[in-house]
């Protein structure tokens, strides 16, 4: 067991926690935070696993940097959407689906 492997395993744990949060939480901002936790988990696996095998590897580090930028862009967009949605509807969660047959028009 090396330190990078520990990172990768911690990443797996974070993925599990984030996934649970994303599925279970109702509040949209919390869902978004859960997504970011899961994202961090994925990035940890991405860097930790190759580093355990062949020492510091700049390629996954660069990939993770790209991944972080993409995650930030997505998070920022989601926050803007959520904020506007909250303003327009007064709701902070996606309410339950209209029944699948669609017989309750909005």
């Amino acid at each position: 067991m090396t330190t990078p492997l520990l990172y990768a395993l911690a990443g797996a744990l974070l993925c599990g926690i984030g996934l649970f949060g994303l599925l279970w939480l109702r509040h949209l901002l919390r869902k978004l935070l859960a997504f970011n936790i899961m994202g961090s988990g994925v990035f940890l696996v991405m860097v930790g696993l190759p580093q355990h095998q062949s020492g510091p590897d700049p390629v996954p580090q660069a990939l993770v940097l790209t991944g972080i930028v993409v995650a930030i862009a997505a998070t920022a967009l989601a926050v803007v959407l959520i904020r506007r949605y909250y303003h327009l509807s007064g709701m902070s969660s996606l309410e339950d689906e209209p029944s699948p047959r669609g017989d309750d028009p909005e």
Binding site: C15, G16, L19, L23, W24, V59, L65, L81, R84, H87
Partner: protein
């Protein structure tokens, strides 16, 4: 009752997922990788134009990723400012006369600007680079915004859109310039690699800061609406 059962099922599923994932990571970590990319990277570092391997991967070997990644940022910026329905940045909640905040700003803003400049410059041979510098620059802007600075240049207008597009445009022009000369898309002309990477990093810093700041500032909340298709207006 339903909710509790649901929670239990979800928790068990996520626990199982974690377990499978951890087992898989443990198994994979036992075998060495067949391809050693690090070695290949070290052999080609001399041709990359920069000294830091991460920067070399980001802006030379895998520059297509970075180009598209900046595209993703610009998309988020565009989608964000499309939510702004008026040209006004007035926000009463932002008016403040907190003297502590002013004092803090006077110290921090110049310091953070210097830090951003350093991070950009350090990217060539140490950890740092366009994104880190851009993030610090954006944080400076957020601080100024919280302190009540007007920041007129963030008004949704041509200037803002130019700022959003600047870094991406320069990157794209460099990418296509070599293709016109008959080389591959995104290849740097020999001898100019270093200079071009520095130029790209600098404009990227400005644009990244601009996108992040625009997403923070330019989503004011107001009631202008577009009726949906077919809805009675």
């Amino acid at each position: 009752m339903m909710r509790a059962l649901q929670t239990l099922v979800m928790a068990l599923a996520c626990l199982a997922f974690t377990g499978v994932l951890a087992t898989s990571i443990w198994t994979i970590s036992g075998n060495p990788t067949p391809v050693n990319l690090t070695q290949l990277l070290t052999e080609n570092m001399g041709r990359s134009g920069v000294e830091h391997p991460v920067t070399a991967v980001l802006l030379n070997f895998r520059s297509y990723d970075t180009l598209l990644e900046i595209g993703v940022l610009v998309i988020a910026g565009i989608a964000g400012i499309s939510m702004a329905k008026t040209a006004s940045l007035e926000d009463p909640a932002m008016r403040t006369s907190d003297s502590l905040l002013y004092a803090l700003q006077r110290w921090f803003v110049p310091l953070m600007l210097v830090l951003a400049g350093y991070l950009l410059w350090a990217g060539a041979d140490r950890p740092g680079g366009a994104f880190q510098a851009g993030a610090v620059l954006a944080a400076t802007g957020v601080l100024m915004r919280l302190g009540g600075s007007p920041m007129e240049f963030l008004r949704p207008g041509l200037m803002l859109r130019l700022g959003l597009a600047l870094g991406f445009t320069v990157f794209l022009l460099v990418a296509v310039a070599s293709a016109i000369g008959g080389d591959a898309f995104l290849a740097y002309p020999p001898g100019m690699t270093k200079a071009l990477i520095v130029v790209i990093e600098t404009v990227l810093t400005l644009s990244i800061a601009m996108v992040l700041l625009a997403l923070f500032v330019s989503a004011p909340v107001n009631d202008a609406e577009d009726p949906e298709e077919g809805a009675p207006s």
